[in-house]
Every structure is written in C-alpha cells, then in structure tokens.
C-alpha cells in the first residue's frame, strides 16, 4: 500500500500561504491517486479559517490548536509532528525559512529520507523516489534518488509546482490537538522585528534598474544610478549588494527582501537565483545584462545582453541621453 502523504501548510492572518495548492500538485507527482492530508497548527479564528479554506482542496485537514503554536516556532512544531505522524509518512513543506528550519531535523527524528528544495518530482519506482533539484545557484540540475521505505521529508521550492485549483476535495477537518504532546521547547519565540523602511520604496516604481554581484565594486553602483536617472527608474539590488552594505536593505528584491511588481526590470550582473527571482511578481519585461552566458537569469529574462555591465551600461546610458 502506498504511504500516506501529508503537506504542512503555513498561514498568516487566517490565509494559507501560496504554496498550499502547489504542494497538492507535488504530492500527486509522488502518488497520483493518493488522498492528501494537510496539517495546520495555530490558534483561534485564524486557524479555523485556514482549516475551512484547505478542506476544499485536501481530503483531510489535521489541525493542532494550541496557544504554544500561535507563532510557528520550528522547534515546537517539529516535536508535535513527530508525535502525530504515522510511521513511513511522506510529508511535504514549502522550502521557505520555516521549512528550512524544521524539515532537516524532522527527517532525523522520523528516521526518514530528506530531500531539500525539490523543483520537480518524477515519481516512485518500488521504494525509490526520483526528485529534481538544483545545485550551484541553479547552474546545474540533478536527479536525486531517495529511499522512501521508511518515509520522507521533502521541501518544495515555492513557485516550482503549478497550484492545484480544482478545489474538489470536500475534505474533513480532524482535530489532532490532544496528540500533540509536550509543546515546551529550548528555543522560545520573542517577537518579529519588521524590516526598516528605506529612503525609497522600490515596490512603487514601474521600472527598476537592479544591480547584483557583477557590479564588482561599490563605486560602480553609480553606473546603475546614472542609467536609472536617464530612464526615470529606481535602483534596486540583489542580496550580495546588501550583504556588502553598498545599498540599504530596503532596496533588496527577493524572498528575504521586497516583493516588487514593476513593468520593466533591468537586471545588471544578477545571476538570477530563485531567492532573488522569487521577489519579482507580475511578469515584468526582464532585461538581463551579464557577462556569464550560463547565468540562470538568461533563462528567465525576455531579452539578454552578454556583456560586461561595466562597459555596456555606460554606453547604453550615453546613448539614451543623446536621445
């Protein structure tokens, strides 16, 4: 008999996170006909609302209601999952900062296989699950075989699986709160500190000139600023520029920065990691300038220029000014 499939669903303000419907598609790629169980944790009216929302898409929704889960502390939720999951369970998570926090340790506690950041799933042959992942910041892909005879914990990259919108499950909500066990933990959540607002709001601009590692030096940020001035755009950036403290955090596009929806996005020296592209919504027209023709950004952009940005961008700005 096929193993039981679960998906842990995060939520905020009573609404399930985007990957909620993507994980259904991922689970069906493991066992096409399986009934999939969603697991949610939390408290109060928010939890009830998420339960009702998910019951239209999942055959069952297991909920654990407890004040200790009001904020999703990975340490607390890992131990409750160990208590409620059956042996051999296959459980999926979104590969976000919660999934990354909880999932690897869960696989140890369950003694099951762990596959991180799956971008596609090819199915099961016997006890071998085949998954596609990426290495080297997306520059190489791999097929991975996981022995799932004792279950599996799998994190799935947000946006990589089509959401299953069929909403045909009419599922049952099952209260598992009594089985959760001891919810004290050696790591205690204190508070969330919101990101500081910066001088500019990059989410308000239709056109962004975004700089990445390829800019090489702090002084060269000017090159992007001059282009932005010439075309009436705002300068944004990828993570390494913020790590180097060349631009403020409020200008960072990506899952750990801002989510933006410009009409036009000009990526200068940005490789195009999924963490960066995850912050880009609304299908903008993407121009990529990068001297590495293998950069993943060229798979995602509409137009590409394989040139050193330090030479190309000043020439472009010059020409625009000439008008």
């Amino acid at each position: 008999m096929a193993q039981q499939l679960f998906a842990y669903i995060g939520h905020k303000n009573g609404i399930a996170d985007d990957p909620a419907l993507e994980l259904i598609t991922a689970a069906k790629k493991i066992y096409a006909d399986a009934a999939i169980t969603a697991i949610i944790t939390g408290s109060g009216a928010d939890l009830a609302a998420v339960g009702n929302e998910l019951a239209s898409s999942y055959a069952e929704v297991w909920k654990v209601e407890n004040e200790a889960c009001a904020y999703p502390n990975g340490e607390v939720i890992r131990s409750l999952l160990v208590n409620i999951l059956p042996p051999d369970a296959i459980i999926l998570f979104a590969h976000d900062t919660f999934g990354m926090d909880l999932a690897p340790g869960l696989s140890i506690k369950l003694d099951s296989a762990f596959v991180s950041d799956a971008v596609d799933i090819k199915g099961v042959d016997g006890t071998t699950l085949t998954v596609i992942r990426q290495e080297y910041s997306g520059m190489a892909s791999t097929h991975v075989h996981a022995d799932i005879s004792n279950g599996a914990v799998i994190t799935c990259r947000p946006g990589s699986f089509q959401p299953d919108e069929s909403k045909s499950a009419n599922g049952q909500i099952v209260d598992k709160s009594a089985a959760a066990g001891d919810l004290s933990a050696k790591r205690r959540f204190l508070e969330v500190v919101e990101a500081e607002a910066g001088d500019v709001d990059i989410t308000k601009s239709d056109v962004l000139v975004s700089v990445g590692r390829g800019v090489e030096d702090q002084e060269n940020i000017e090159i992007a600023e001059e282009l932005a001035d010439a075309i009436g755009a705002v300068v944004s950036c990828s993570r390494p520029i913020v790590d180097a403290k060349w631009l403020e955090k409020a200008r960072q596009v990506g899952t750990s920065g801002k989510t933006v929806k410009p009409k036009v996005y000009i990526a200068l020296g940005i490789s195009g990691s999924f963490q960066h592209m995850g912050g880009l919504k609304g299908s903008p027209f993407i121009v990529a300038v990068n001297k590495n023709p293998k950069a993943p950004i060229f798979q995602l952009a509409d137009v590409g220029v394989v040139q050193d940005l330090l030479e190309f961008v000043p020439a472009l700005t010059e020409k625009i000014k000439e008008g």
């Binding site: 909880l102 340790g105 696989s107 080297y136 190489a140 204190l190 969330v192 027209f285």
Partner: protein, 263 residues
Amino acid sequence: MEILVCVKRVPDTAENEIEVKSDGTDIERDDLVYSVNEWDNYAVEEAIQIRDKIGGSVTVVTVGDEESEEVVRREMAMGADKGVLLSDEAFDGSDGKGLATILKAEIEKGNYDLVLTGAMADDGAAQVGGMLAAMLDWPYASVVNTIEVLDDKKIKVGREIEGGNQEMNEIDLPCVLSIQTGINEPRYVGIRGIRKVAAIEIPVHGAADLGISSESVGRGGAKVKRVDYFVPDLGEGAEILEGSMDEITEKLIELLKAKGGIK
C-alpha cells in the same frame, strides 16, 4: 564559550562558470577555483567576534579530502584557534545525514557550547545544521543574522525570515545555528595571514578515530543519492541581442521604449 564552526570547500561560483560534463557524472572540475563556502566565512567571523568579546575558543572543522585542509587553514588565518579535518574513504558519497553523523561524532569528543554552520553551501540543501542539532538533541535556529550572548545558559538570535523581517528567539545552550550572509563583515585574509598558520599541524580524524561504523556513512549509508547532473531544457530563454555595441544599445533602447521602460 567553546565554539565549533563547520565549513566546506566548494567551487567558487563567483569565479567559475559551472558546466556539466557531457556524460552527466559530474560538473567539469578542471580549472575550477575553490574557496571556503561563502556562508561559512560569515559563521567563522561571527565565532571569532564572540570569542574576542567574551573569551573561549574557536575550532574549525570540515569533512573532506586532503585538499579541504586549505580551507581549514584559511579560517585559522582569519583567527580560529584550532582546526580539524575529518577525512576517510568511508566518508565518500555521504548524504546530508551522513555528514551530520560524522560531525556529531567529532562534536561529542569536545565540550562545545555553540556549533555554527553556514545556512547553505554549493548544493543548496541547507540541511546539515538542522540534522546535526536533531541528532545531538540540541535546539536549532536557521538563517541566523544576529547573535547576542545573554549569559552562559542562553543566547538571543535573530532569524532572517520572508520580507526582510527578523524573527527574534531566545535559545538555550548548547545549540546549533546556521548563519546567514550579511550577519557581519568577514575580515580579509592576506597572504601573510596564511603564511603565519602554514606550519601548524591540522589533525585528521577518520572513521575509526571517531568510532563511526562505515555502514552509517558514505555511499552505502546514504538514503539520498545524486544520480547525475544535467542541464535542464528550460525552453528558449531570453532573446540574446547581438552585434556591435551601437547595434545592441540601439535595439535595447527601442525595446525599452516599447515596454514603457524609458520615461
């Protein structure tokens, strides 16, 4: 505070174009420039700063072949007090759990209060720190971007979560943390720094020294195995503009105007 930092020698993706071998068995490794995994460098810097503030020691450890010794030495040149190389043919082909098993054995030989890893490395799995903590039964926090030592029993850590927000936690010692880039500014290591530590002997521990049975690690012990490397067919991708600089800039300006990119 006794701190252990787990590091890895990886191909430097900023310095190399990664290409897949035509038979798919590996990436092209000739002429690759290797360095210490970027995240690990921040972890070592953080450990050194904690030690300098409150005392204790920093040990750097890696699992790998003899070439991995160079990254241990580099991190010692940064200021780590000790280095250890965990190396054995039995370790080859270990999955994340195998690596965590090897590191756990080394950790149990010491008396550490804090174990740091990078948040991820070249394979992007972000898994070893969390596995290690679960094996040790220590608390864990991932993608940590601030650390404040409260007393000898607990610390306060910030985790970088979605949207650039920060999740603050209090966590009991001993614990394992995975460190995010940007937590500090790793110091520069010059050639003179490397020379200073060139003669230091770095101990090598194998499976027997660590009391690890070879079935629990390596290819045989792995539940998860990479089968091949390949270049995905992602469709056409971008239209690449070609020609002289003049032609390219002209074409691009035309496109930008059409899409509303020039105001």
